[in-house]
């Protein structure tokens, strides 16, 4: 009986893990740069949203993503709505890829990811720089995009393991 309860709890925790990770990362706005390396930063949230909305959209609701964007804007101090808009654009791209792809392949996802990241970061820079007149460091954005692209395979493997565990539990 105890093991059954434990298993139910573990199952729920696993299925909520993507959403927990999303909110945990927007509240922290972490870039994993504890070593204070110059320029090193990557956008974990982009990777998370891209992977889950592409591979298992049922685990990450659009409204949760929208809320996460609002929180992210408040935490980092940029005008409210910008991150939500950018995150939802990622969802649009992944949804489109899902519509036009029959069998997903990692390399296709990865290449689409760099296009998505460059597009979203460009839109964010345009909104901040041209509409809200914030000075932004273009180089930081570019390097951030580069590292985000490079780190995608690593998180792809980790999220894939998690996704297969969630799917297994669902099919039990």
């Amino acid at each position: 009986m105890a093991s059954l309860n434990k298993s139910t709890f573990f199952r729920s925790l696993l299925s909520y893990l993507p959403i927990i990770l999303l909110f945990f990362s927007v509240f922290n706005e972490f870039d994993f740069n504890y070593l204070k390396l110059d320029y090193f930063s990557f956008n974990f949230i982009f990777i998370l949203i891209f992977f889950w909305t592409l591979r298992n959209p049922d685990q990450l609701g659009y409204f949760a993503i929208f809320l996460a964007g609002i929180i992210n804007d408040v935490v980092i101090g940029i005008p409210i709505g910008i991150s939500s808009f950018c995150y939802l654009l990622i969802c649009t791209i992944t949804s489109y890829i899902r519509q036009i792809t029959l069998s997903p392949k990692f390399i296709n996802d990865w290449l689409s990811f760099i296009i998505a990241v460059l597009l979203i970061n460009s839109i964010q820079v345009i909104i901040l720089d041209l509409i809200f007149l914030y000075q932004v460091d273009y180089m930081s954005y570019l390097i951030n995009s580069g590292f985000t692209f490079l780190f995608y395979p690593l998180f792809f493997i980790l999220f894939n393991i998690l996704n297969s565990k969630i799917s297994l539990k669902k099919n039990d």
């Binding site: 909110f23 935490v75 409210i80 910008i82 939500s84 930081s140």
Partner: protein, 281 residues
């Protein structure tokens, strides 16, 4: 060709309007909602400002609680670094202590002289200090700012100086009821009027988005390498917001780079200061 275009339109319609089983909102409705929020947040309507303040209050507090584990990791890393640099720091401290007594004596006479001269020109500088704890220090690649646990209820106002001990670290840019946000000097949008001493040159310190600042809008004399090996940068007080003479950082080796005195990544308690310049006591 027409068929291809039709497929594209069908795919797009499906992307924006179709809801999956678990999705309660369609993408298009949420995108429109976020666009409306972006537009509304650009206006200074009272109801929108109130909603924004409410959201800020809740999210800043929640973020502080969620950040506790990450802050602990940071503390541990910082402790490790401190232990590794212990010997080097100790040697530096010994050299500093040797010079401190000498500087103290000189400082006392300079303070007295400064006070007397200000009395002669009938100028006074009063300040009110509010001590605050740093709730969130998110040095994201986009904005270098900190969130403090003091707000309008503690008389914090826009534009007040934020200091770490006696060093300037930033300026208040957003005030909520119980918390506020300060823009750090290292942020790209930060610009502070300063003097470089020696040779007493007026300039502007701009943030670079990194750990250092940059000297701008100064005389050509500065660029012609006429500055001594090490120069200290103080606030000039020209904008009337900060008092003159708050140490900001130092320049070494004739560069345009300014090293801030304070480590912005290690701020846990700061002082929010309002200067009243030119008012007689």
């Amino acid at each position: 060709m027409v068929k291809g275009r039709d497929d594209f339109v069908i795919a797009l319609r499906s992307v924006f309007l179709k809801k999956k089983d678990q999705q309660k909102f369609s993408l298009i409705s949420l995108i429109i909602l976020s666009t409306i929020i972006i537009i509304l947040s650009n206006f200074n309507f009272r109801p929108i400002q109130l909603v924004k303040l409410g959201i800020n209050e809740v999210i800043y507090r929640s973020s502080y609680i969620v950040s506790v584990p990450e802050n602990k990791i940071k503390e541990v890393i910082s402790e490790f670094k401190l232990h590794f640099d212990f010997y080097k720091n100790h040697q530096n401290q010994l050299i500093k202590i040797e010079n401190t007594d000498e500087i103290k004596v000189l400082n006392n006479i300079l303070i007295a002289e400064n006070k007397r001269l200000r009395e002669l020109i009938e100028e006074s500088i009063n300040s009110e200090d509010i001590f605050a704890r740093v709730l969130i220090d998110r040095e994201s690649p986009y904005l270098k700012s900190i969130v403090l646990n003091r707000g309008t209820k503690d008389n914090v106002k826009m534009g007040m100086a934020v200091m770490d001990r006696n060093y300037l670290v930033g300026q208040i840019i957003e005030v909520n009821y119980s918390n506020s946000r300060a823009l750090l000097l290292s942020d790209l949008n930060s610009k502070i009027p300063v003097v470089i001493q020696p040779p007493f040159l007026q300039a502007v310190v701009s943030g670079t988005g990194k750990d250092h600042g940059i000297i701008e809008y100064t005389k050509d004399e500065y660029k012609e390498n006429q500055i001594e090996n090490e120069a200290v940068v103080y606030t000039s007080g020209l904008a009337g917001i900060f008092k003159p003479g708050i140490p900001v950082g130092k320049i070494t080796n004739n560069s345009e780079q300014l090293s801030f005195y304070s480590d912005f990544g290690q701020l846990s308690f700061v002082k929010i200061v309002e200067f009243k310049i030119g008012e007689d006591q």
